[in-house]
Every structure is written in C-alpha cells, then in structure tokens.
C-alpha cells in the first residue's frame, strides 16, 4: 500500500479513465429520450454512490479489525475511508439534487433512499466531528472504531424503517421512472467506464490519505521514542 510506484500508476490510470468517462458522457452516449440532458448526471451519480457506500463499509470493517487486533494501521485505514467516503457522499447528494430539480421538480424530497443517504451522511459527519474534536490517541481510535461499527449496525434498521415511513406517507414526488432503462448498449458501456473511473479515483485518494496517516503515526511513535531516549540520557542515574 505504501509503494509510490503503484500509487503513481493508480493516479495516471485515474486520469485516463476520468478523461475517457468525460468523453463518453458528453459525446458518446445518447441522452435519455424522456429526461434529456439531465439524465447524464446519472453516470456520475451512481459511481459516487457506490464508492460512498463502499467506504462507509470499509470504516466498519476497519473498526472491527482495529478493536480485534489493535494495530494502528486499521485505524488509519478507517479514518482515511471515512474522510473519502464523506467527500463522495456529499458529491453524490449534490449531484442527485441537481438532477432532481428538473426531473422531480424539487431539490430534495423525503424519499426513502434520499432519507437513508442523508442519515448516513449525518452519522459519518458525527464520526468526523468526533475525530476533529480530539487528539489522535489510541483512545480516540477506539472511539472511532466503536462509532463506525455502531453506525454500520444501524444501517439495516434505518433502511427498513425509512422504507416503511415512506410507504405509509404518500410520495410527494411526481413520478420516479420505473427503471433507469439502459436499453442502449452505449449507456451500459458509459456507466461501466464511469464506475471504473470513480473507483480508481477513490482508491487513489484513499491510498494517498492512508499513506499520509501512516506516516503521521510513525512520526508520532518516533517522537515519543526520542523523548523517551532524551529523558533517559539526561537522567543522572
């Protein structure tokens, strides 16, 4: 994970894939017959959603491994995943909102999926606020791990409750198209390339942040060792 060559290759492939996805979205793929140009947001929105949920899953997995093994590596991974996940989740909500304005006629509606995403966003916002309001000690790493696990445990109940809440309250939105009707093979290809591009971007950002956090942990260990050695050397006994 700390290998700069892999990181650089990942960076360059992200660039290539991003350029390819831009070309495909704006030139190659035919816009949807009903929704027109707004539908093109879909090719960014879905990959953003996938990486956002994947990183929140990673936060919980890293939390479990941190509590189990106690290796600082897992905490650094979880923290990096929470930060990147938050960025992608915010972008997903913003992109979806821009799409919803012309299609549903509103920026926001309390649809079950939107509500679920928003609650998830709030939970991980809380996680990041906790990390920001405390120094990086093993204690705070454990707190982060516990919050990550508890939040992930909550997700299934949130999904069920929010879905029931919606079905009992009638929908405000006009119509949600039944399927995303990707009848044209070019649409599927574009989606695939966009998924690959955003996954690469996510992996690259995650790796950069993770490497940075690893370096910081190492420096913390080194400085405490230096302080210990200095104290031992100046001790007259």
């Amino acid at each position: 994970m700390n290998n700069p060559t892999i990181r650089n290759w990942l960076g360059f492939s992200t660039l290539a894939l991003m350029l390819a996805s831009l070309f495909m979205v704006f030139d190659y793929v035919p816009p949807d017959a009903e929704m027109g140009i707004a539908q093109l947001i879909f090719y960014f929105h879905v990959p953003l959603a996938w990486v956002a949920f994947a990183s929140f899953g990673l936060v919980a997995i890293a939390g479990i491994f941190y509590l189990w093994l106690g290796d600082q590596l897992w905490d650094d991974l979880g923290y990096a995943a929470a930060e990147t996940g938050m960025v992608f989740c915010t972008l997903m909500i913003v992109a979806g909102s821009i799409w919803a304005k012309p299609i549903w006629g509103t920026w926001w509606t309390w649809d079950s999926r939107l509500t679920m995403t928003f609650i998830l966003w709030l939970m991980y916002g809380g996680y990041l606020m906790l990390r920001a309001s405390a120094d990086d000690t093993p204690q705070v790493a454990r707190f982060g791990a516990v919050i990550g696990i508890v939040a992930a445990l909550d997700v299934p109940i949130v999904i069920v409750s929010v879905r029931m809440w919606r079905t009992i309250h009638p929908a405000v939105l006009v119509t949600k198209q039944g399927t995303h009707g990707l009848e044209d093979p070019r649409m599927i290809w574009t989606l695939m390339v966009c998924l690959a591009a955003f996954t690469a971007l996510w992996a690259w950002l995650l790796m950069l942040r993770f490497t940075q956090l690893r370096t910081r942990s190492r420096m913390g260990r080194l400085s405490s060792r230096i302080a210990f050695a200095t104290a031992a050397a100046s001790d007259p006994k």
């Binding site: 709030l122 606020m129 309001s133 707190f143 516990v146 919050i147 445990l153 909550d154 009992i168």
Partner: protein, 223 residues
Amino acid sequence: MSGFAAVLRKDLRLELRSGESTLALLALSMLVLVVLVFALGAARVRSVDAAAGALWVAMVFAGMLGANRALLAERDNGAIRGLLLSPLDPSTLYAAKLCAALIFMAVAEVGAVILMVLFFNLDFDASMARLAPILALGAVGFSALATLLSAITGRTRGGDMLLPILAVPIFVPALIAGVKASAAALAGAPFESMGDWLKIMIAFDVLFVSAGYLLFEHVVGGD
C-alpha cells in the same frame, strides 16, 4: 451480579438525595412541550400526530441532557477511574449505568405524558396503556445508545455538544417507529395495527443493548 447491584444502588441513592437528573429531565421535557405548543399553534395542538411528535422530541432532548448529567457525576473527581479500577467487569458497569438511566428516563416520561395530555387537550383513557410499552421500548433503545455514546463524548473536547450530533442520527429508526406507533396508539388504533413499528423498535433495542454491552469495554478500558 453484586457489582451490578452496587453500582445501580449508588446511582439511585445519589439521585434520590439530589434529584438532579430526574428534575432536570422533567423541567426540560416540560419546556420542550411548551415550545412546541407555541411553535405549532393552537390549531394543530388538538391533533394526536402533533402530540406524539412533541412527546418524542421532549424525550430525545431530555434524554440527551440526562445522559450528559449522568456522566458528569462520574467525571467529577475522577470517580469513573475508581469504578474502572474496581474488579468490576466493564459490561456489568454498562448494564448498571443503563438501568439507572432507564429508571430516570421512565420517571421523566411519566411526567412528560401527563403534561402532553394536559397541553394537547387529550384524555387519560385506554390509549395511555397502549402508549406505555411503546415509550418503554423507545427509552430502552435511547438509554442503551446514549449510555454507550456519552462514555465516548464525555472524554473529548466539546463532548456535551457532540453527544446529540452522534446519537440523534443513529436513533432515527427508533424515532420514526416510535412517533408512528405513538400517534396510532393515541388515535385509538389496536395493537396489531402497529406491529411492524414495534418490531423495528424491538430490533433496535436488541441490537443496541447488545452492541453497548459488547463494545463498552473498548470505550472505557485500556487507559
């Protein structure tokens, strides 16, 4: 088991002598209900939906305050360190703290329900009996979550602010289910009609009581 009883007895005795937590919980519940009566306006005050919503808002905000206070008592003079140094299992400590929080919350909720009936022009009738188990389930889930999270936020800077930020989003499923079931109960619906909401609340309670029981050790131990 004796350790559990000892901690619980200590918390209850402290509360009986000072009355701090329950009194603060009751006062805040009352204020939230008053604010909501004014915010909603006289016209909507007659609806059971508004009453159920107001009751749960009061419960969440009062519960948050109660959880912060309970921890403050332990943090002053480093009492929590003493508890952790004692040969008491952290999970047992969690269970005792959870029971104490639950008892204070139950007392405050009885008060909040009485105030709700008075402020929202409802009647003391059979619907109160149906409301009781719903509120009990909500209180168990909330106390389980708040007891675990307040142990975290109590040891960070700005912890009192952090607790609602962490707890409210996680509590959302139980909140949705609780408000819906309470409104149905107040409207006189039979128990069977709210079965799905009750199932969500039971699932939430089971999940967070066990999560708290298992994870509390990682929150308090180790340093």
